[in-house]
Symmetry: C2
Subunit: 290 residues, 2 copies
């Protein structure tokens, strides 16, 4: 059981973890921290946190678990603000969608010798909503959480973070940092970029209002992720640049091939690709629903 969980950045993810752990009676006290006092006040009113501070050093003092749930661009300054205020036993984990960049930010703040309590993590869960108002205790149930422990990570810290996520109903996996970043570039970062990009392409067309008027349910689903928080996703694209660029180049090359098939009217080859994609997707959905 956690005595004091300090959550830095009490939004959809941080707020949902607090709700889940409170519901499981796994946490004695949740302390919220943010630069925005109104957000913290809201979280307090919603019962998501028990008290708050806008000062990171103060908020992490006495915490046995610290969760950093801020946009990737704010990671380094958060780590820097908590350095020197942590006890040797404090476990520090995060929810960043790109792990190499978080580790780099931690090294910039803590020095190359990272605290043994630092366990980089990433829950593969979320909605296109943001903010503590959108948080809910079931967000992580049956979802996967990827931990990317380092050589410096203590076994005890790792098992504490694993135990915490298990309490939310999540499945926990371990993965190498680079592999995490490649997998997420493929399944999450590239799709977000494509969805934002498509909507923006349509916006810039003549009579775009009319174009949107004739969009149907398929378009709504396809572009749902383009309603995600722009700051969070801007930071992800910058932070996971190497893996994302590799995926973008791969996809653009495949899209060139598809364009060529449309151009030459190669119905058979197009049909084969569509069939292969449909089959793969239904296998993937079967897998998800297991």
């Amino acid at each position: 059981m956690i005595q004091q969980l300090t959550i830095i950045g009490v939004g959809l993810i941080g707020g949902s973890l607090a709700r889940a752990l409170k519901q499981a009676n796994y946490c004695r006290e949740v302390v919220g921290c943010s630069r925005n006092e109104a957000h913290l006040q809201k979280a307090l009113e919603l019962g998501v946190i028990d008290r708050f501070s806008t000062d990171i050093g103060e908020a992490v003092k006495d915490a046995d678990m610290v969760l950093v749930a801020v946009p990737l661009g704010a990671m380094e300054s958060c780590f820097a603000a908590m350095a020197g205020h942590l006890s040797p036993d404090t476990v520090i984990t995060d929810v960043g969608s790109s792990k190499a960049s978080v580790i780099k930010a931690a090294k910039a703040a803590f020095g190359d010798e990272l605290p043994p309590g630092f366990v980089p993590g990433h829950p593969i869960a979320g909605t296109e909503q943001s903010g503590v108002e959108a948080s809910f205790s079931e967000l992580f149930r049956n979802r996967r959480v990827i931990l990317t422990p380092l050589a410096s990570t203590s076994a005890e810290a790792l098992s504490k973070v694993e135990a915490m996520w298990h309490e939310t109903g999540a499945m926990v996996d371990e993965m190498a940092v680079e592999h995490h970043d490649e997998v997420l570039a493929a399944t999450s970062h590239l799709p977000h970029l494509l969805a934002y990009g498509l909507v923006d392409t349509l916006v810039s067309m003549d009579k775009s209002e009319e174009i949107f008027r004739f969009a149907a349910g398929g378009f709504r689903d396809f572009t749902r992720i383009a309603s995600s928080d722009p700051i969070v996703w801007r930071d992800i694209c910058i932070a996971n640049q190497p893996a994302l660029l590799a995926m973008m180049e791969r996809f653009q090359s495949d899209l060139e091939k598809l364009t060529e098939l449309v151009r030459t009217g190669d119905a058979d080859a197009l049909g084969e690709i569509f069939q292969r994609a449909k089959s793969a997707r239904s296998r993937f959905i079967d897998q998800l629903e297991k």
Copy 2:
């Protein structure tokens, strides 16, 4: 009221229209037609059609309304098979997602002088499901149906098709053929190609099963349309080639620019694009929900 509605291709769209019109008591008899007798038998058992024939000429005889709801690649042979079997007053409409190609197919079958009863149409509705089992009477409620009447189309035929779609709860718009094809390339055909393409890119990667395992809800929504019927969508991409190619080139050029912003780490410009897309999407969703 329609005396005899003949539906050629009793799948999701044709079946849903039959169900909606029966529910509205707007149709005395629905005759199904398909090359596949088992499908027709199924439609009969489900009460979607009242009788069927596998012979198009026979099925359209005595019909006052004929709905052609087959994949675009089968349009020409359908029109050819009904030519000579229609009465002068028969209204013929279709549900093809690309209108120029349907008109071309009709001209190849009927000759350049198209029947005055021919009203090209396209209901902007559907799900990623296919087949008569997936049909339901509410599919068109509050959805838009685009009609692209021609100079040859009689006012009477146009108003009969409009009245039929109104009975399903749909809103009916008229549009020029080329404009329809451009709008649909943007909001429907390109997104389908991107979704199929992304899934196929991931399938072709090493350890693709593992990659899919870490995909979350956003990916599921984004790729939902990649579970659509591959034959239908292959035919759409071929049939609407000119408008689709223009959209693909436009999107690829925009994607190049996004790639460059990721490559140069231009967080401000990326954030602006994401914010613009998010705002546009919420305006569009507000519009849809009106």
